[in-house]
Symmetry: C2
Subunit: 282 residues, 2 copies
DNA sequence: ACGTACATGTCGCTG
DNA sequence: CAGCGACGTGTACGT
């Protein structure tokens, strides 16, 4: 781990040159810089950020992040795959990041550097998120009655030539039934996505039905669905998440995936701290 | 600026407690921690990240970011507005972050801490991005022939009761013309967005036309547009960006906004560095 | 607070 | 490589 406080331009240049080279070669150091800087960006769009104190993060994969004191999104950034260059121009350290496709450049000019850090960052394991749309899909495959009584989902994969819908099958009367599901509140755009699929299918098979399944369906979305003779179903599946996880594993196993490779971790229920210990920010 | 290397659990606790309190009160310190940790998340979804070396960033506004060595997106995070709490449990420093709405908790358990940093971060200025969809809209307002010859945009604001479209007006033959524009390649969803607006309007005014304007329109999007009697126009407006900026300022001025408050900065053209100086990462 | 649309979205997958 | 869809999307804006 390397640490430099308040380096001058030359020292900062030397540090960054060394670290960026090492970053490219050994691939495993995360480099940070805190200091007063301007940022220019040009690529898919264009921006200019005037002087201010910010945090820069450089990752071994070429990611560049520039964070201010506010917000989850970096004020400027470069996605993975970019290359770095560092130089001193007119007495100031300039770090530039270049991405080839699409052609994008981020240029950071430091007026002063407060801190430079380089630490090896070993990545633990991949993150498995539970509660995705995929989980909802598998839940509905296992418990089709949650869509509607008598629904029988087809076994074939969701991948289809034309459009691919989340789930399809047949209802109690043998009519084709297409299901679109959303992990959160469904809006107009989601309703229209279902409409698009169904509309196409109805040309050759006019009796095709469509149902939108989500924890909540917005009013406008309902209107659109009603207008086009589509249905919806509000399903609070969050309560069934632990069960859905069971479903997910067995569901994936039945799809021929490697269930034994699934990390069998399950996050315990988290509770907010007692008031006394909490530090409020907002 | 505060720096602590390799603190034990007690020292880390003391540091974080002090800094988080200061963070809440004075609002201006960015706190970082690098170390081996596990992360649990529960809220809109749920996840569990096993032990590994990561970078944590805490912002004065309650933002929490947890970054691994790869990718632009944090592996776990908390958006602005969350509150923090720190404690030692079973000899390990535990940092938890709580968000009220939606109810979300991130819990970070440190097995070891390599580095703690706290720096004041003064935010410079807001970022103005050039090349947004808004810029394209204003360009088209100024040069309506880019949509099609004879197009006369209406003056009224884009805000409409039912759906709000980017631009509307009348064509050379006096027919209502609705324009949807996209800053980048337009896909099926974008075509469908236009369709949604036009379809509603056509109920009362069957002659309404619709045009999708974008630098590129995907093949499937074109098909959908054609099927519903909608048009499209591919327009490489990136080349006209500097002009569009002129347009933007005057356009906004004419809309009654405060043009003098617009930062008149304009990003110079950036060029990639010479090969020799570049450090490749990919 | 909720819904809607944009984003330098990012990311993963499929053709 | 392009397109398409999901995301714990985040973020701003309008109702």
């Amino acid at each position: 781990m390397q640490l430099v406080r308040e380096p001058d331009a030359e020292a900062a240049l030397a540090f960054l040159q060394t670290e960026l080279a090492g970053l490219a070669l050994r691939r495993g150091h995360l480099v940070q810089a805190v200091g007063e800087c301007e940022v220019q960006y040009q690529g898919r769009a264009r921006s200019m950020l005037t002087k201010g104190e910010r945090l820069l993060v450089l990752k071994p994969d070429g990611t560049l992040l520039i964070h201010t004191a506010k917000g989850a999104k970096p004020v400027n950034w470069q996605p993975p795959g970019a290359s770095f260059a560092v130089a001193v121009e007119a007495g100031r350290v300039v770090l530039s990041s270049h991405r080839a496709k699409p052609e994008e450049i981020v240029r950071v000019t430091f007026h002063s550097v407060r801190l430079l850090v380089a630490v090896p960052l070993t990545d633990g394991a991949d993150l498995a998120v539970e509660g995705t749309e995929d989980d909802l899909q598998n839940l509905l495959r296992q418990r089709p009655h949650l869509v509607e009584p008598g629904f029988v989902p087809s076994l074939r994969e969701r991948t289809s030539a034309t459009g691919r819908y989340d789930l399809d099958g047949h209802d109690a009367k043998g009519r084709r039934l297409v299901v679109e599901c959303k992990r959160a509140t469904a809006g107009v755009a989601d309703a229209q996505q279902l409409w698009r699929y169904v509309e196409r299918l109805r040309r050759t098979e006019p009796t095709v039905r469509g149902v939108l399944v989500a924890p909540r369906v917005a009013e406008k979305a309902r209107l659109l669905l009603a207008e086009h003779d589509l249905g919806w179903r509000e399903l609070d599946w969050a309560t069934a998440l632990p069960q859905s996880q069971e479903v997910r594993r067995s569901g994936q196993a039945s799809l021929g995936r490697f269930a034994q490779e699934e990390p069998q971790v399950s996050a315990p229920v988290l509770q907010p701290r007692a008031e006394a210990a909490v530090v409020r920010t907002a």
